[in-house]
């Protein structure tokens, strides 16, 4: 018997980790991973809520999220490759052509 808030907090922690990763990681790919981390955190709370409300729609939602995540991954990695081609680096701090 696990109180629902536990799950929610866990998901929250994952989400927070994702945000932190986005903020502190330099490598674009890792940053992208942090985004995935955030999505997973969200998924967890979806499932948890689904259990709480006894509504399967939550789980379906998770399913859609995964699909979206997959699509994003495809596009994102493609973009990363494009950037790497033009800039020869994966460090975000060096991807700052556009500014001010």
């Amino acid at each position: 018997m696990v109180p629902l808030p536990y799950y929610l907090v866990l998901s929250g922690i994952l989400f927070a980790c994702g945000v932190t990763g986005f903020l502190i990681k330099r490598n674009i790919i890792t940053i992208f991973m942090s985004i995935e981390l955030m999505l997973n955190g969200v998924n967890l709370s979806f499932v948890a809520f689904a259990a709480h409300w006894h509504a399967l729609s939550g789980q379906v939602f998770v399913f859609f999220v995964m699909v979206v995540a997959a699509a994003e991954a495809a596009v994102g990695l493609a973009i990363i490759i494009a950037v790497y081609r033009t800039r020869e680096t994966l460090n975000v701090d060096q991807v700052n052509l556009l500014k001010l």
Partner: protein
């Protein structure tokens, strides 16, 4: 009781993996720790009785997406990330912001009553019922995802394809 134990164990692994993702400096390690997170999350789903989701989690995420990641990392043979200090803002505003935000969220979530606790397999998500929803109530979103994926494919092709189109033609005066 066992339930709580399992939750805590795998929850711990999740958090550990997530943290590890942050502290690892080589993308590969981060990717691997992310996989750990995903796997243990699948277990959490099982605990919540979402077998289908759990399965999909393992197959799609761990199976497909992460492979993609690792593949890209290899392709661009990304090395150790150097600790450039490009952004003060992220540290000065971002981190505190994150902390404040997460604290508030955590406070809300914890204080969020109206929850009993969740028994193991409280809501069995067998494929049948899922399918019911997916192909009936959520038919339209399901179909639309195909568009999404189509776009993703096109995008990948356009952006990542290496075929050389000649550089833009300069227009002369007219």
């Amino acid at each position: 009781m066992l339930h709580l134990a399992l939750f805590s164990i795998f929850g711990a692994i999740c958090v550990a993996g997530a943290v590890n993702l942050l502290i690892q400096r080589h993308p590969i390690n981060s990717a691997l720790s992310l996989i750990a997170v995903l796997a243990s999350l699948a277990v959490e789903y099982l605990l919540l009785g979402a077998e289908f989701v759990a399965a999909v989690q393992v197959i799609v995420y761990a199976g497909a997406i992460m492979v993609l990641f690792v593949f890209t990392i290899m392709l661009l043979n990304a090395g150790e990330e150097e600790r450039t200090r490009g952004s003060r803002v992220a540290i000065i505003f971002g981190i505190p912001g994150m902390l404040v935000g997460s604290i508030v969220v955590a406070w809300v979530l914890l204080r969020y009553s109206g929850t009993g606790s969740v028994p193991v397999g409280a809501l069995p998500g067998p494929p049948i019922t899922i399918a019911q929803l997916l192909f009936h109530d959520f038919l339209l979103p399901f179909e639309v995802t195909s568009v999404l994926i189509l776009i993703a494919i096109m995008g990948a092709v356009v952006l990542a394809s290496r075929e050389e189109t000649p550089p833009p033609a300069e227009r002369g005066h007219i």
